[in-house]
């Protein structure tokens, strides 16, 4: 498959080499090789079942929790193989955060949701916790809306607010990389616009990998785009080029809406 002979304008944060994922006998990903550039937004696009979510879940070893998954190949974070024998997936996930397709706030207060990560990683000081919570909520552009009701249940928030709360919760553990699995697919256009807007701010600090079904969204928010089809990486390059001048016929068919 395609070599990563890509001129990136930024250092490589995560490097994926020959990644193959099998669920039982069926392979969900074939020999994917790709570089995730630091402090950039990388979008993964492709039709349903193309393996983009599976790929994303390999980057924080979330697939480890599913039975019968076999993963071969190499994924590095800052040069270190995250599937190496002495890597603790729990520690890895602190560095590689994740936001899910469906918002999944814990049935706790807003404050306790955001403080959950820092608390389990040992932050006990209430003043420090408060600062972390406020910073996380500000980064997720949620602070102004809920600052006076941090103690109310997270489940009373609207769908878009819940998703931004989940982003705040992920940011509160200060990861290096933020994985987003279709974070706006269940949201209305206004909430989506808010999330897209702050993805632009977040990339100044974080490396972001985002799975999306929405090609306009990929074009709007990302610097690099990877197109997956049937478990293979078909094309990967700067978003402008992929959308205006794709090198592969499959990519062109997909982004012009001829299928998928």
């Amino acid at each position: 498959m395609g070599a990563p002979a890509l001129q990136l304008d930024s250092p490589v944060k995560m490097a994926v080499r020959g990644l193959t994922v099998r669920y039982g006998e069926a392979a969900a990903l074939h020999e994917v090789t790709l570089d995730v550039p630091e402090r950039r937004v990388t979008a993964l696009i492709g039709p349903s079942g193309c393996g983009k979510s599976t790929f994303l879940r390999c980057l924080n070893r979330m697939n480890d929790t599913i039975r019968g998954v076999r993963i071969t190949g190499e994924v590095t974070l800052d040069g270190e193989n995250i599937y190496g024998p002495d890597v603790d997936p729990v520690e890895l996930r602190r560095r590689v955060g994740m936001v899910f397709q469906r918002s999944n706030p814990f049935p706790k207060s807003i404050f306790d949701n955001v403080a959950f990560g820092p608390r389990i990683h040992g932050v006990k000081d209430p003043v420090a916790l408060r600062e972390i919570v406020e910073r996380g909520l500000r980064q997720a552009a949620l602070w102004e809306e809920i600052e006076d009701r941090l103690d109310s249940s997270a489940l009373d928030l609207s769908g878009g607010q819940q998703q931004r709360l989940c982003i705040a919760r992920a940011l509160a553990v200060e990861p290096d990389v933020l994985l987003m699995d279709e974070p706006a697919s269940a949201l209305d256009p206004i909430a989506t616009a808010k999330i897209e807007e702050h993805i632009q701010e977040l990339k100044e600090t974080y490396t972001i990998v985002i799975v999306t079904h929405n090609m306009q969204q990929a074009a709007r928010v990302s610097d690099f785009t990877a197109y997956f089809y049937l478990g293979r990486l078909i094309e990967f390059g700067p978003t402008d080029r992929v959308f205006t001048n794709p090198t592969k016929q499959e990519t062109e068919d997909y982004i012009t809406g001829r299928f998928g």
């Binding site: 729990v90 706030p105 814990f106 049935p107 990560g117 389990i120 989940c166």
Partner: protein, 284 residues
Amino acid sequence: MSSNYRRRRLVERIMFGATGLATGFTVGILIFLLGFLVYQGGSSLSLDFFTHLPTPVGEAGGGMANALVGSAKLLFVAALIGIPLGFFGGVYLAEFGRGPLAFTIRYAADVLNGVPSIVIGVTVYGMVVVPVGHFSTLAGGLALGLIMVPVTLRTTEEFLRLVPTSLREGSLALGAPKWVTIVRVVIPAGLRGVMAGVLLSLARVAGETAPLLFTSFGNRFWSEGWLQPTASLPVMIFTYAVSPYDDWHRQAWAAALVLLLLVLGSNVLARLILQRGQGLRRAS
């Protein structure tokens, strides 16, 4: 109007009537039971009933204070045995329960759940009462506790399984180890259901009579500590109801009424606990 339509409407009315009748009948049984108990035992239900010891044979009046306290003590021992075993077993099954071991535990729990309570009673009699040489609260509580284990285990498992996978993943993705996820996310999210289940299993064993007949036996007086035979509501009902005295019959009815109200109360409480939790589950 076509004949087809008329026929459909007729069938609909008959079926509607039948389901309504069945519903009414079910509710009716409960209301009848309550009414009958009030009619038969209401007159004996006085303050004395709750505060006095049984009177000697032939003397009217008296109460069942010792049986009430005895039942409470039996349930306490049963909860001490049944809740931890069932709860932790349920957590294991829900969170780690795969493979042949879990299958065996689940299967054993279901079989144990179907074992007649008198068999549990006779087992405790043979293994505890006979070697020790006397009946006791502990032996009775042990029998009730064993009956509770499979019920608590399976309800804990069921309610923890209802906690969405997305919550577990959300916690794991924040770098929480599995045990932290279980203790701080899964169990709190499913706790209301587990509590309701525990309450229902307590209500169930509160009315068990057979296993108590030869474990805690009975007692006309206060039972001190945990190692003496003790009175309990169900056994008291049994003893009084088969006795030849009218006054005892009335007291048996009163005790039955108290027992039924306790069970009914726990059921209502369990339902309230679950309903308050519903809001949380629906939104997630």
